[in-house]
Amino acid sequence: MVSNQDKKDAEIYKKTAIEGMDLMFLVRIEGVGTRHDIGLPYHVTIMLFDEKNDKPEDAHKIATRLCLNPPNAKKTRIEFGTMQGRSGYTIYNINLMGPEADKIEKLYNEFSDMGFDNNYKFQAHISVDKKTFDEMQKYDGKTAFEAGIEFFPAELRMGKKIVASYKPTKPIEWGSEYPEEDKLHASENLDVATFKEALLMSIEIHKDHLKAVSFNEDTFKNYLQDNPDLKKHLLVKHEERANYHFRNDLSLLTFALENGIRKTYELLRKK
């Protein structure tokens, strides 16, 4: 049962989360990407940074060299527990156990010089609202897959703002595992039309590359391969645009990141 205290605690948690800087894997529970009570995305925190002392560019620098593939839901067991937030409020958690959770702890340890000073023993978890916490208890000891939990690629967020994505978000087939080599590969999956769209939208910066818009698909792919900085800029531009258009809907954002903004609107029109 959800008490008034639970609601108050959730609001404090929300305020803390909105102000914080967090490297996280996004999560869906039974197809839902956000908490029912406070509207924040479900996630597994890899590292909660001290936004006053830690710079996002430093966090990003470390994150880019890490293997940030999302956990495999079939290899992750879940347990339930509560913890105290930094100002004493109660957080309801689905704790992740097993080798995939150990991997997340190793990622956390990579940021040992950052974050808050505390005696916190890292435990990978998904914070959920009390109602979901109660309803999910039946899956205690089962795998995340059995509980309908899906994990998605990592993002560095400052409050609601996505500062960096470590892989374009790509929905995985139900229960399947992200292949290790897929970490960088997904960005290659963006079609040429989407890259060209991003190029046209930032042509003021890339005047010299305007000619590439007229290239056929193979030539354009080669051109991006030969101009990796351009490719990076276009990916960032594409992600910025996708976030601008679909930031309030994780599933649309996911689709837009993978398939382009135009196709996402086409899909919406068809619906």
């Binding site: 000619k211 290239f215 193979d218 030539t219 354009f220 080669n222 051109y223 391969q225 030969d226």
Partner: protein
């Protein structure tokens, strides 16, 4: 790679990298090698190599953003402009180490097709008024399409039309 003094035809200054001089060595075999220090405390080593000094400089500029090419002092000596057109090559050719560069020096334009930096084909042309005129097309068949793309791209970049000499 070891270069003996007797292998060196001549040495030119190519520019500076992190404040240290980078030299261009032409071997007696016609090979150009850019020699410099990658790190301030390091020893001089080969930074890039190729069959044309302008391509070597171009590759050093791409590989080492801090590289500052030296400007030619002599008024008689024209600077070359290098453009890479390798995106027009087929996947097979790219995988096998081929590249296409255009080198424009004054009104003369050369298209160099290289394989692992060694020249495998050369097409020459010149800029005459409003046109880039291609003089020769004695090239392997598999390169025709790629060179057509390269020559069109070059013509567009200098805002000229494209002609073939009959």
């Amino acid at each position: 790679m070891q270069i003996k003094p007797e292998d060196i035809d001549r040495v030119e200054e190519a520019g500076t990298l992190n404040g240290d001089i980078v030299k261009l060595i032409r071997t007696t075999g016609g090979w150009w090698i850019g020699i410099g220090k990658k790190r301030k405390q390091g020893s001089p080593e080969a930074l890039a190599a190729g069959s044309h000094p302008a391509i070597v400089k171009f590759n050093m500029e791409k590989q080492f953003p801090e590289f500052q090419p030296v400007m030619m002092k002599s008024e008689d000596h024209l600077e070359s402009t290098v453009e890479k057109h390798s995106h027009f090559l087929t996947e097979d050719l790219r995988k096998s180490g081929h590249d296409i560069f255009s080198i424009q020096t004054g009104n003369e334009v050369e298209f160099h097709v290289t394989k692992h930096n060694a020249q495998v084909a050369l097409v020459t042309g010149f800029v005459d008024g409003e046109h880039l005129t291609i003089e020769t097309l004695k090239i392997p068949k598999e390169l025709t399409k790629s060179l057509a793309g390269a020559s069109v791209e070059k013509a567009i970049s200098i805002k000229a039309g494209l002609k073939m000499r009959r």
